[in-house]
Amino acid sequence: MAKKELLKVDGLKQYFPIKGGILGRTVNHVKAVDDISFTIYEGETVSIVGESGCGKSTTGRAILRLEEPTEGKVTFNDTELTGISKREMRKHRKDLQIIFQDPYASINPRQTVSNILMEAMTIQKSYPRKERRKRTIELLQTVGLNEYQADRYPHEFSGGQRQRIGIARALSVNPKLIICDEAVSALDVSIQAQVLNLLEDLQEAYNLTYLFISHDLGVVRHISDRVIVMYLGKIVEIGDKLSIFDHPKHPYTKALLSAIPVPDPTREKIHIPLRGDVPSPIDPPKGCRFHTRCPFAQDKCRQEEPLLQTYVSMGEDHQAACHFVEEIERGQLKPKDYRSVMV
């Protein structure tokens, strides 16, 4: 199957200035996203997982140019988004939607739900005027809200209900790509299941593409085709779902997977703990950014930055950024400090 490249991110960097001193000069930068590249093909779901603060949301916002990227190119549907004017960009917005991580902050508190949705449709003229109200109700119902809630204001909803408003808004304009930033994290499992099913159905019907940002690996496993693992502004591993979940190569990915709680109180769990503090993205560690916490870290890791590449033991679309993938795989390298923690 000839896959069509829908979104191509190339060398994306997003630095936030840190103002310091009484005079407010820029003293440093938060390197929230530091040179990442990946491609998403039409009709697939790619997830980004990673530790909190590693730059997932920032990546999403940069793709949409909600924050102008510091560096790098974003190409969508053969248009280089980073190079066009704001006005031009507006035309592409219909195809690129985002569900924000913080649902309450991202909706205008003075609009009722129906106004929020109808306005989205008005902006993108996605439905004829007369049908908009009907469509609004439909959308609400698809995300598990009721018609009677249509004329309520955001503050009258619960956290999960607000998140569903955000989802409905993104869906209302029939986009091609949706960036779902923790889109289902506040939903109870039943609604979550409904929404995830909905997203899958839509994908099937309209060949939608998702960039799914989540830390809920259960959800990620369920929905993704491919997974990107980020650590401190960098991609450390990327691959199809099965490779990542069943054959993780990067020590960070491994640690991540071991930390997932399982909904079974009888099961004893073993977490691979990560040593030490999470480094700051302001002055990230030299070499491999993970070396400060990596149980396998060697001198090389402290000096040389590993490239994202496919190692022999990996599938073809599977890449990891670690110098010692093979050694670890072969058991030649033993973790330095391994302790199991009973929870």
Binding site: H92, R93, Q97, S106, N108, R110, E119, I123, D151, V173
Partner: protein, 298 residues
């Protein structure tokens, strides 16, 4: 849902879905006691200014020196002024004009100021710099000089005083709106609208404006008082109501010479201005509440 589902305890019948934000606001406005009272008075004022003059029995400009400076009585409810004119009649006849000056000048100045301020705050950068520096110039500029210039170019009519007062009010609106816009434009829901591809126009007027509305309402309702007083202050330039027009601000300044000995001359027009401004303020408060979905409904 199953049809056996029946309404239970206190089941209010819901009105048909409201499609329009305006309608919602209107509905909430009607529920707000303050707004209703304020609105009622405003309507009353408008009514009086239209039909009031027909109903009065006395001539507002009838000079009767012998009768001057009478205290309020059954015949002259508010007393008479220094020409023996009936103050009550004058107040009724002056209402239309006073409201016109107060309301129109604030509206014109407000609209222009709000647009400038919101554009300035939203876009920032050069646009902000230019607009705000022009506002600085306007603020620093002596009002009289501006008014004099307006008279000399446009002549001294009542409409021109409205223009003059409107021009004076622009910078205050602009600065207030800009200040609030600066903080609102950074909120995430504005980003969300951008992500939806909303035009700047829409973002500005549908999303920022309602969220900076309350300082605007305050400023506008208060400005009415200032406008009436400013307008009367300009009458000596030939701008505004000329004697014997019973415009309230003018009545206040004319009464100035007599205020110590005959306070009623200035008391009544002063009170009327307060009442009108009060009505607008109460209404404004109600409007603010109605626009704020979080406000406790009562």
């Amino acid at each position: 849902m199953s049809e056996k589902v029946v309404g239970t305890i206190n089941q209010p019948k819901r009105s048909s879905p409201k499609f329009d934000q305006l309608k919602t606001t209107w509905k909430r406005l009607r529920k707000n006691k303050a707004a209703v009272v304020g609105g009622f008075f405003i309507l009353l004022f408008i009514f009086v200014s239209i039909v009031g003059p027909e109903l009065t029995t006395q001539d507002p400009n009838k000079v009767n020196i012998i009768n001057k400076l009478q205290v309020p009585s059954a015949e002259h409810w508010f007393g008479t002024d220094n020409y023996g004119r009936d103050i009550f009649t004058r107040i009724i006849h002056g209402m239309e004009l006073t409201l016109r000056v107060g309301f129109l000048s604030v509206t014109i100045g407000g609209v222009i100021g709000v647009i400038l301020g919101i554009v300035s705050g939203y876009y920032g950068g050069k646009i902000d710099t230019i607009i705000m520096r022009v506002m600085d110039v306007l603020l620093a500029f002596p009002g009289i000089l501006l008014a004099l210039a307006i008279v000399s170019v446009l002549g001294g009519s009542l409409n021109n005083v409205i223009i003059a007062v409107a021009v004076f009010s622009i910078p205050a609106f602009a600065r207030i709106v800009r200040g609030s816009t600066l903080s609102v434009r950074k909120l995430e829901y504005i980003d969300a609208m951008k992500a939806l591809g909303a035009s700047d126009f829409r973002i500005i007027f549908k999303h920022i404006l309602p969220n900076v509305m309350s300082p605007i309402i305050v400023q506008a309702t208060l400005r009415i008082a200032t406008a009436v007083l400013t307008a009367s202050g300009l009458s000596f330039l030939g701008l505004g109501a000329q004697p014997p027009t019973p415009e309230w601000g003018a009545m206040l300044s004319e009464g100035r010479a007599f205020m110590t000995e005959h306070p009623h001359v200035i008391l009544f027009p002063g009170m009327m201005i307060v009442i009108v401004v009060l009505a607008f303020n109460i209404f404004g408060d109600g409007l603010r509440d109605a626009l704020d979905p979080k406000m406790n409904r009562r």
